[in-house]
Symmetry: C2
Subunit: 651 residues, 2 copies
């Protein structure tokens, strides 16, 4: 019992740091941190098999702090345990660094973030409800890699109101991830008030049982109970959750009076807080030895995982891949939907690269991720209709070194835009593919159409990543099957987030096996010197038809396939200059995407004129792509009309 | 029992229409429609109190079809019951119209949508998992209005994997909305495969009980069981759910073999399908009389609700409002955070207008919706940490004639971007307010910052609404407290979706009680003729400081407060022309927002040059707004530097 009682002493010791660092920062969450002190100490000192000198050890157990705002106690433990932080090769986190919490020059960000020098963590958290899904992704990867890794995830009680938590709980049961331990921290206090009785420890325990979990309810400040619960988790053959009743501001009298959520104690109250913590610890652990500042259990296994590429593996040509897939008919008709070409490319990538995997949300027969799923069932994870969980699972897989492709309709990926932004903050190497984008799916109507996706993802593309060159996200739109095939490969070969939108209808081939699709580039499909029609994806075909119509009026329109955002601005400006300095953009979505990218390039350069043709109204169901394109004002004849009137307008 | 047996005959009759219309459309979901035939018939013919000649009757019960793809059976019932469709005054839905499902010229969209001429519905559905939250909003409104309205919501089993369903279930228990009946349609088949055992009828019933619901599990094709379940709902004093086991493709042999999800029967199989339905019905209802084509129960109560404005009520000036709120200190310091001014304005609006209400997600003490909550507790609904449910609840409130303000951090509203787009498709009159937008909250780090919000909401602003003039959404950014006050009022007085982003720090007053904030407008805060600095929100203050710095270098920079997107393009272009045709935009977010709006206006006009200054990297925690602005490259001195180099660059 001595070691267990020592947990109290350590809780008081680290608690002082947590309170102090938040006061130094002038903001932060010491009261939440104190509520998980015992849980974190049991995990980091006594339970988890991990190596502070190599927090990314492939066999090391992981802690996902879903309620990221409680992080100060983890930082304090990391410093006490001499954990490596910072970029490669990194440095020991010094105790003195703790007082720099939230400072510009410190790795101690307000919330966990591996990308700001915290390899102890796998994903940025802080937007609530996402951690358990990340843990599930790590658990899937551990099972694939047979590392024996365990993944612990701490979720707040108020946080468990987020629906994504319940998606993750379902997913973990579906996949029987008994290597993931879900820990609910029930301190009963939210930000604006108490948590709902729907999130009380008692109700959570009932809900978890109904969701198919084994549940142990404990006092989250009782080291013996905590240890017993983790013992039970290690032995459990079913998904296992711990419901821990805790006290917000444990050990500090002042923090238990009134609402201190997210508020630092004033400097002058610090010494009373320290005394209070000492008193609590002494009462609970009289005569016990302090817990030593060492990690009890080292990871067992290789520190790195190699996933060697099969010998002699090489990308086939698209034509060969089509033949191998039994799709010779497309070679004859010279038509194929970009979504189907993508599915085929993903399957080929899976053949070549053992780290490629995929998740889908019950639409794999629409996204064509099913082609991959059939060939690589061990690396395909059905997430059912729960896109938030799906994206965060992908983040967990990526943290373990996989290259996950997350698939759904472009519209339904918007369900996970917050998760996608958190993945971006994590700098997760995930690939997102949205099918049925734009309006060409027609009959199903606007609830199934990706209309704001280009604007959303392009926003990330306006910002540079840590290398100060690459964008935070590449947005890709293949105009034919060859482009879909080539861009799928480019996504894999490009680190970081990429988004590709595919379309439902079969479209004619525009390219061949020799065409290169470099990120940042574009292709000029038709020459002209009066106006440049700049399009992407499905709309390239409309732009080509519009150019034909303009030719009848003796207007020579060039057609540019801008398959990638961001785009090489200088090259694009030159191309537009060659067209008399006039461009018309053509999109099957709302504005803010390609139109904005081209206009910004033009406006920065000066001397050019750009008109934008995009959906002019909310679409409705129409039976054909042609009908809905016309309804939304983006059919070839409408593009031609708009180009003509723009050319005739005095500048 | 005759009437009940007649439900089978009606199910077969309407089932034939459902199968036929999907085949005519060439796409759609007859198999899902057949699975809910009996439930829909019991509701629409025998249970709901509603008026087909006035589907919007204020006392009429409502049906929210959360699994919107199953809608063909509802359309068939509407036609049979001679329901009014289309815009005012509307027309009877004819049986012949059914064969125009999903046609461009038909009101019969692929998924329910009130805005396409379906007043029977309250919200566009089709993106799954949102309907129960809309039903909850309608239930709140019915309770406020004391109409006695009941709200029925049909949710698919696969759909119930969406976390938002579980958020809604919690919310309904929290608010004890016993006027909402949740009906789970368990046909056990999804799109790509069977639903998970986690969504089986048995597991759903267990989960619902653990969530605090009374549950009745029934055979969803047994009219007697259905009727008994609705009887039980009407008598229940607790939230009540029905778990209905159903058959996908009920009554049609062919549709029960293989995966027919979303696929029409071929024409040549129609007669066999009709025979199959007749055989099913005859077996079940031999000798019964067909159910008459009438609605059994009429709504009881007034058809319209008046919420009269208090006599003599008028908007106070901001100065008077500050004094009344005990915030005279701000009048002295001449500083106030826009989020606090907004909260005050919302409270004032609540005083004046009984239809103004608010929802928040456990951050009302940050968004300052708490000022409204304290004054109008009956119209404030705490949604806890569940933003998806929060936004869809607002849609339900709006459908009932309220003007709901949905509040959270700008970042956390991104959790509900799919729900927001569905609200947009609904043309819901909801107001979204995101606090802590941009990066000026500093210390909490990027997980709490609204960085893509302007790009996202601006995309809707590039498209015109049904009047072909107003944008689908106005995006507003107040630069000071007066602007926040004025723009809150403008949101209320402008129909449709509006988004306002507020900021955390106190900022100096720029305006006074006399300033008008017209939507589409902007204010020139400082004259100049060398360059226009175009900014909004917090960044207006940086732009003003940058203009000061430029003045030291003899550059006369104008400063434009572009508080609204979309913006009056012609006026903006004129203002930039007066500044030598050169503009620099200044934003505390990623690109795609103001920068794109100004560049597009400039590029459309021609002859102008625009440079964009926005966050150049992912932010991290910094202890002050100044630090994080500098870190992201958007401090006044950086704006001035960028403006100088842009001015010096040859165009």
């Amino acid at each position: 019992m001595t070691a267990l009682a020592g947990v109290h002493l350590k809780a008081a010791e680290l608690g002082k740091h947590a309170v102090h660092m938040v006061t130094q920062a002038g903001s932060g969450h010491s009261s939440s941190a104190l509520s998980i002190a015992h849980l974190v100490i049991e995990l980091m000192y006594r339970r988890m098999r991990w190596d502070p000198s190599n927090p990314r050890h492939a066999a090391g157990d992981r802690l996902v702090l879903s309620e990221g705002h409680a992080v100060p106690i983890v930082y304090a433990a990391m410093a006490d345990l001499k954990t490596i932080v910072g970029g490669e090769p990194g440095a020991l986190l010094a105790m003195a660094e703790l007082s720099k919490l939230r400072d510009r020059d410190s790795v101690l960000d307000g919330h966990p973030n591996p990308a700001e020098g915290m390899p102890f963590f796998d994903a940025a958290t802080g937007s609530l409800g996402q951690g358990l899904s990340v843990a599930a992704g790590l658990g899937l990867a551990a099972r694939l890699d047979r590392t024996g890794r365990r993944v612990y995830c701490i979720v707040g009680d108020g946080e468990s109101r987020e629906g994504q938590i319940w998606e993750a709980l379902d997913f973990i049961v579906d996949h029987q991830l008994i290597n993931v331990c879900a820990i609910f921290n029930c301190n009963n206090e939210g930000q604006a008030g108490y948590v709902s009785p729907q999130q009380s420890g008692e109700t959570l325990a009932k809900k978890l049982a109904a969701f198919g979990w084994d549940v142990m309810s404990i006092d989250g400040h009782d080291p013996g109970a905590i240890s017993a619960a983790f013992d039970a988790f290690e032995k459990s053959k079913r998904p296992f959750a711990i419901v821990a009743k805790t006290v917000k501001g444990w050990g500090v009298d002042a923090l238990q009076k009134g609402n201190w959520h997210g508020k630092p104690l004033p400097n002058e109250q610090l010494s009373a807080a320290y005394e209070s913590l000492d008193r609590f610890a002494k009462d609970l652990a009289s005569g016990a030895a302090p817990l030593p500042a060492v990690v009890k259990n080292a990871p067992q296994g290789a520190a790195r995982i190699d996933r060697p590429r099969p010998a002699g593996a090489a990308w086939p040509s698209m034509t060969d891949a089509l033949s191998a897939a039994g799709l010779e008919s497309a070679l004859k008709s010279r038509k194929l939907a970009s979504r189907r070409a993508y599915g085929m490319a993903l399957k080929v990538a899976g053949d070549l690269l053992p780290q490629v995997c995929a998740v889908d949300g019950d639409v794999s027969n629409s996204t064509f991720a099913e082609i991959f799923a059939k060939a690589h069932p061990d690396r395909f994870f059905e997430c059912k209709i729960a896109e938030q969980n799906m994206v965060s699972v992908a983040v967990g897989l990526a943290a373990a070194g996989y290259i996950p492709f997350a698939n759904s309709f472009a519209k339904f990926l918007s369900r996970a835009y917050d998760q996608i932004e958190m993945a971006n903050i994590t700098r997760a190497n995930i690939k997102l593919v949205g099918s049925h984008s734009g309006i060409s799916l027609a009959a199903d109507g606007p609830s199934q159409m990706g209309l704001v996706d280009v604007a959303f993802f392009r926003a990330f593309g306006t910002v540079r990543g840590d290398d100060r060159r690459s964008p935070l996200c590449w947005s890709l739109q293949p105009a034919d099957a060859f482009a879909a095939f080539g861009l799928t490969r480019a996504m894999i070969e490009t680190p970081g987030m990429c988004y590709m939108r595919t379309h439902r209808p079969d479209v004619a081939f525009l390219y061949d096996d020799k065409t290169q699709f470099d990120l940042g580039g574009f292709h000029v499909l038709r020459g002209g010197d009066d106006v440049a029609l700049v399009a992407s994806g499905y709309m390239v075909h409309e732009a080509l038809a519009a150019a034909e119509e303009l030719a009848k009026q003796s207007i020579r329109a060039a057609v540019i396939d801008a398959y990638c955002l961001p785009i090489d601005e200088a090259a694009l400006v030159s191309a537009i200059v060659r067209c008399g300095g006039v461009a018309v953009t053509c999109e099957d979505n709302y504005g803010g995407g390609l139109s904005s990218a081209v206009a910004e390039a033009a406006a920065r350069a000066g001397g050019l004129r750009v008109e934008s043709v995009h959906c002019s109204r909310i679409p409705k169901s129409c039976r054909t792509p042609e009908d809905v394109l016309d309804y939304c004002g983006v059919r070839a004849h409408q593009i031609a009309d708009r180009a003509l009137s723009f050319l005739r307008r005095p500048s």
